[in-house]
Structures are given as structure tokens and as C-alpha cells.
Amino acid sequence: MRRVFWLHDACLQRPLDLRVGDRWVYIWDVDYIHQQAWSLKRQVFIYETLCELAQQGCEVYAADTVVGLADLLDEKTELVTYAAQDPILQVLINRVCLAWPNLRLQPIAGLLNLEQAPPLKRFFHYWKRVEKPLLGFE
């Protein structure tokens, strides 16, 4: 099955498992940018990053995200993107998911994987738990 990787502003990098025939796209969605209330500074930073990705094959379009993805997808295409925690971005991902319920949401690799969740009351509680695995003491 052909795949389309939809990049968003929390995952501006070439997908690691890109295969021949896959497409990877970013959609410049002005409404979304306005919702985020980003200054021109932030927009330029993102766009500069996109320009580099485009040199490697990323396609950059301007559209409403859901409408734009509709132009790129058919029943033989799998849509893939990456999980994000930003609430406004999550709303956008949810909108896409409503339109394509089979959207595959890949996790973004965290700093470390722990079998047991660390304590979160204060940073120093957390740090006591993660320091050794993070610095390679064990």
C-alpha cells in the first residue's frame, strides 16, 4: 500500500522508514497558524526548515489540512503522522482522524523508556528516578 506521511510542526524531519513510492507532505494551513497565533519569526523558522526538507523530497502545499490531504489520498493510500501533545495541534490531528479513521499515529521517541512511570510531584523526585538510566549508570 502506498503511504503518505503528513508532517506537522512537531515532527519536521524525514520519516525514518520512508520507502520507494511513499510521499511526505507538509500543509501550510493558514487558519491553523492563526489559531496558534505564531509571529512571523516562528513562521519563518518553520518555513526555512521545510525548504531544506523539500530538497530531500518533501512536498509543501498551502491548504486547509483536511481538504489538502483529501487531494492526496485515495482508498489505496495509508496516511501516517506522528503523535503530538500540543492541544491545538491535537485538535487538528483529531480533525484529520475523523476524516481518515485509519490514520496511523506513530509515537515520537521520548528521551527514555521506563518500565515504571517516574514520580512527577516535583522535578527532583523525577530526576532521582531517571538520572542513572539517562546517564548510563545502569
Binding site: 512537531a10 513562521q43 523525577y126
Partner: protein, 264 residues
């Protein structure tokens, strides 16, 4: 659907194109450029030993990698792994701990995502949330407070979209504790301008300063500012009298309802 141009004769042409795309107002653009090439250059130049020693100083050896981490250009794990290949734990611990702060805030958020704009705990300032103004005054938004160092830091925020971490703490403390404005108003303002603006790290850092996600409020005095600004701010201006006191005196002024001693 319109395919966008991604090749430009120069940076000015790119900036003009982006401005037209989103109808953004004319405003300054950061000298920090996006892209993996820039991120790789910065990560290659990262010296965690110098970082550990100097990171609290405005002139210190900081990485400026946060915009790239925020946008997924590079991952914190890849950075930590890269450092592990070249430095022993004792030499990379300071930088890795900063990566861990990010991971920590994200885990806190993941546990209760609906609380991202809520006070995590009550203020420990002797005031209630209702005592803080809900919106940011124009003089702060525009860098026209009349307090020289504060205006200098705001100018950097507006012009560069990036602030040294200590400058972020100073500005947040000024907004919340000297001006008694809700942290949420300041957090929204930072998110608009910081090119590394990550809502989770940003909001919880503001709450850490405000004391709604810490045991005590963070504030500073002129000696501290002078020490860490390291000549980068005009610390001798007369408008800085509001900071020129001991911590006990400032605490009594800023938090008059508290009865016990507070730290910073």
C-alpha cells in the same frame, strides 16, 4: 491545491513569501535559522562541559538547540545519545538534565492534559489567583515598561524570538510578581514570539516561577541580575531600584501577606 515555492534567491525573498502566505504583519525575523543543517552545526558545536559551567550566564555557552527540538528537527534522545558517545556522565549531566526537564514537563502534561492552562496548585505568594490581572498590559507587550533591563529583554524576545533561559525567568518573575499578572497572560505572549515555544515547557515554566507548580515563588534581585547578565544588560540604570534590595526586603514587598521566609 497550491504547491508552495521552496527555493529562494535569498533569505529576504523567503521572508517576504512567508509574510504574504499568512498575511503576517511586517515585523523582525530571528537571526536563528530553521533547518537540519543549522541544527547539526549547533549540536556539533555543543560543549557540555562549558554548558554545565556557564549556562546560567547570558554570555554562557548555551546550545540554542531548543527551536529544533521543539519542531522535531532533532530529537532529545538523539542528542543525549550523541553526547554519550563523546563525554562521560559527569561531563554531560548538566545538559542532559535540561533535556530531562522537558521530558518531565511533558510527562506531567500527559497525565492531565486538560490542565494545561489551569493553575496546577494554588499560588504560594499570599495572594489568590483572583488577585492577578488576567491580561498583559501594552507596556509589557511592547517593551515600554520604563524598567531598562526588562525592556531590553522584551526587545530581544520581540526581535529575536529567543531568550536565554535566565532572561525568561527574570521576565516571568517581573510579570507575575512585580506586576501581579496571571502567568497565563505571560505564557501566551511568550508562545506567540519564542521560536522554540513549546506550550508544555512554556506553561509549566511560568507556573514554576509563579509558584503554582513549585513550593515557592521565583524572584530575583539586582545583584543576581547583574551577576548573570554579565554585561549584556544595562543594570546600572536608575529604573532598577525596584530590584535593588535583599531577598528578605523584596519578599516583604512583593508578598506582604506571607509570614515566613521565602527563597528564590
Amino acid at each position: 491545491m497550491l504547491r508552495l515555492t521552496t527555493e529562494f534567491a535569498n533569505r529576504a525573498a523567503l521572508i517576504d513569501y512567508v509574510r504574504q502566505l499568512s498575511g503576517a504583519a511586517m515585523e523582525p525575523v530571528s537571526d536563528i535559522q530553521g533547518g537540519l543543517t543549522q541544527a547539526c552545526q549547533k549540536s556539533a558545536a555543543l560543549n557540555p562541559i562549558a554548558y554545565q559551567r556557564e549556562r546560567n550566564f547570558f554570555t554562557g555557552s548555551v546550545s540554542v538547540l531548543s527551536p529544533y527540538i521543539r519542531h522535531g528537527v532533532i530529537s532529545p534522545k538523539a542528542l543525549a545519545d550523541q553526547l554519550a558517545e563523546r563525554y562521560p556522565p559527569s561531563q554531560r549531566a548538566g545538559f542532559v538534565q535540561q533535556l530531562a526537564w522537558r521530558d518531565y514537563f511533558h510527562r506531567v502534561h500527559q497525565a492531565q492534559p486538560e490542565r494545561i492552562w489551569q493553575d496546577y496548585e494554588p499560588y504560594k505568594t499570599g495572594f489568590s489567583a483572583a488577585d492577578y490581572a488576567p491580561s498583559l498590559p501594552d507596556d509589557i507587550a511592547n517593551g515600554e515598561t520604563g524598567v531598562r533591563v526588562i525592556d531590553q529583554m522584551i526587545d530581544t524576545l520581540l526581535m529575536r524570538g529567543y531568550l536565554h533561559n535566565h532572561a525568561r525567568l527574570y521576565l516571568a518573575a517581573y510579570v507575575v510578581h512585580w506586576r501581579r499578572i496571571q502567568w497565563q497572560a505571560g505564557a501566551r505572549w511568550f508562545l506567540q514570539h519564542l521560536i522554540d515555544g513549546d506550550i508544555i515547557c512554556n506553561n509549566y515554566s511560568w507556573q514554576w516561577v509563579a509558584s503554582t507548580f513549585s513550593a515557592k515563588p521565583y524572584f530575583f534581585n539586582l545583584d543576581n541580575l547583574r551577576h548573570y547578565a554579565d554585561g549584556q544588560l544595562d543594570c546600572e540604570h536608575q529604573s532598577h531600584r525596584i530590584f535593588d534590595a535583599s531577598y528578605d526586603e523584596l519578599s516583604a514587598r512583593l508578598f506582604p501577606h506571607l509570614t515566613d521566609a521565602r527563597g528564590r
